[in-house]
Amino acid sequence: MTLTAPAGTAAAARPSLVRRAWRTASPYAFLAPFFTLFTAFGLFPLLYTAFVSLYRVELQTPGEMEWRGLGNYTALFADDFFWLSLRNTFTIGVLSTVPQLAMALGLAHLLNYRLRGRTFFRTAMLLPYATSVAAATLVFAQLFGRDFGVVNYLLGLAGVDPVDWGTGTVASQFAVSTIVIWRWTGYNALIYLAGMQTIPAELYEAAEMDGASRWRQFVHVTLPGLRPTIVFTAVVSTIGATQLFGEPLLFEGSISGGISHQYQTLGLYLYEQGWGFFHLGRAAAVAWVMFLLIVVVVGANALIARRRSRTEAGR
């Protein structure tokens, strides 16, 4: 927000009326392309979702809407699979986000050393980010195959019995989470690395003079310095986790997230309602629930962050 000279000051000698009018209007002309698209394809659909969720809308006749009040929501809350998918979203979210961020932090710490071939390491870490959800999931589905998968083969070498990665709740959620972790760890590691590089070197020098070990330096210098970055990545990953869709859809190709819905997420549940059962209205209700979930997550995060910084300021 360090804006200086306003556009229309005495800088120009004496612009004509037309030019003056253009000068006041031109900023809006610059914004127009983005905001037109943003309103039509971003803002409007988002808000209209709440409206649609109060109607009965069928996939085949999206033009016909029939008022249902809160009917879609009561139907949703009476559906066991909705609650199951909510729970799955939460457990898969934790299973994927926590190890992902912890490993990213560790890798970033290592990448922050002076290294030979550091560009190579950074680029290689980001490689999974370049793949699509679909491609990654199809490959992992095979790696996690029950009879001939590489993962079970490796486990077998270690003396572990083959795991049926598709069927069990824990096993399948672990497998789905692995895909997420694989795709995003390197990305987050780079973001942490960027954050680490802004921490003043004097802090480490001072800590070293005080005789702090490497580990204590990490805990007392690196982690506090990274706090805003960590909060940021936690929020982004959590939001990503609430939206999980492609991984559970393509893991076995089933729209219900496994035979007993054992790894169906809310995103997949939404798709099943809308494009499996043709209930667009109910799908909209799911979307709105997901939106509220995000608001809660972001709000809680902001609250925690603010409280923590306040207690720290009070120290």
Partner: protein, 302 residues
């Protein structure tokens, strides 16, 4: 998790090993201790884990299906790559999909970069009524996943008769609040106000200033935004799956078709995956360094 707790490496050679002079000359932030053998071991392991699925895609795509149903699994590429590619081209029309993805990602990238640079410039350097509110609206929705709006979006697209047509994926793809914010940050930092003032004194219009001053300065930022947008557009999944079908697919829609049980031959599925991933890998191989830089820059500025 062991990565996190393991002490980074063996003790250094001496108490003050990295010469402070060298450290000072490089930068005054961050740490520049030398990495030890443990550091390298862990990092190489991480690289192997990152790369293995790619390697295995190639292995599986170049084998016969019978080879894949064998214990121990094949770990070296085989001779059947082109046979499998032929099969997937025939069964899933990956050729059309690749062309469509190129059209979609190309148009989305060009359009997004243009819209975001225009808006980013206005937010960074122009003064107008409602600037704060509009910027807050843009940034505020940055975190909201577009997936939540798919139902009304689908209704609109259906009303317009655009289902199965590429513009249904292109137009919504142009909306990037992140891009606007990114370009705003970029221009706020790299475009000196004096430059604009000088041009104004010379009587240049805002449009003229945009094309002959802003765009040249913004070019590095536009390039990074373009790269990130291209990859995101190429890999976008939910909305294309909803809006398109196997009759006119993008690569991701075709892959969803492949994984949806229509093709049972695992090696053929992997050949499709390989073809669909190759273009982004190519971009990544050529411009990986810039992408890494862009993500790290974005992290610091965001």
């Amino acid at each position: 998790m062991t990565v996190l707790t393991a002490p980074p490496e063996q003790p250094r050679t001496g108490p003050g090993a990295p010469a402070p002079g060298r450290r000072g000359s490089r930068s005054r932030t961050g740490r520049s201790l030398r990495g030890g053998p443990v550091t390298y071991t862990v990092l190489i392991l991480a690289v192997l884990v990152s790369a293995f699925p790619f390697y295995w895609t190639l292995v599986a795509a170049s084998r016969s299906n019978a080879d894949l149903a064998r214990v121990p699994p094949a770990l070296l590429p085989g001779p059947d790559l082109f046979r499998n590619i032929d099969a997937v081209l025939a069964e899933a029309d990956i050729g059309t999909a690749l062309l469509n993805s190129l059209i979609v990602s190309g148009s989305v990238t060009a359009g997004t970069v243009l819209c975001c640079t225009l808006a980013g410039f206005a937010f960074a350097k122009l003064r107008f009524r409602g600037r704060g509110a509009l910027l807050a609206l843009t940034v505020g929705t940055m975190m909201i996943p577009p997936q939540l709006g798919v139902i009304p979006l689908f209704m609109v697209i259906a009303e317009l008769g655009w289902v199965n047509q590429l513009q249904s994926v292109i137009l919504p793809g142009l909306v990037s609040a992140f891009g606007v914010f990114f370009m705003r940050q970029f221009l706020a930092q790299s475009l000196p106000d004096e430059l604009i003032e000088a041009a104004r004194v010379d009587g240049a219009s805002t449009a003229r200033i945009f094309w002959s001053i802003v765009v040249p300065v913004a070019r590095p930022g536009m390039a990074v935004l373009g790269l990130l947008t291209f990859m995101t557009a190429w890999n976008d999944f939910f909305w294309p799956v909803v809006a398109l079908s196997s009759q006119n697919p993008t690569v991701q829609v075709a892959l969803r078709q492949l994984g949806g049980g229509y093709v049972h031959d695992q090696s053929v599925i992997m050949a499709g995956t390989l073809l669909g991933t190759l273009p982004v890998l190519l971009v990544f191989g050529l411009l990986g360094r810039a992408i890494v830089g862009g993500i790290m820059q974005g992290a610091v500025k965001g």
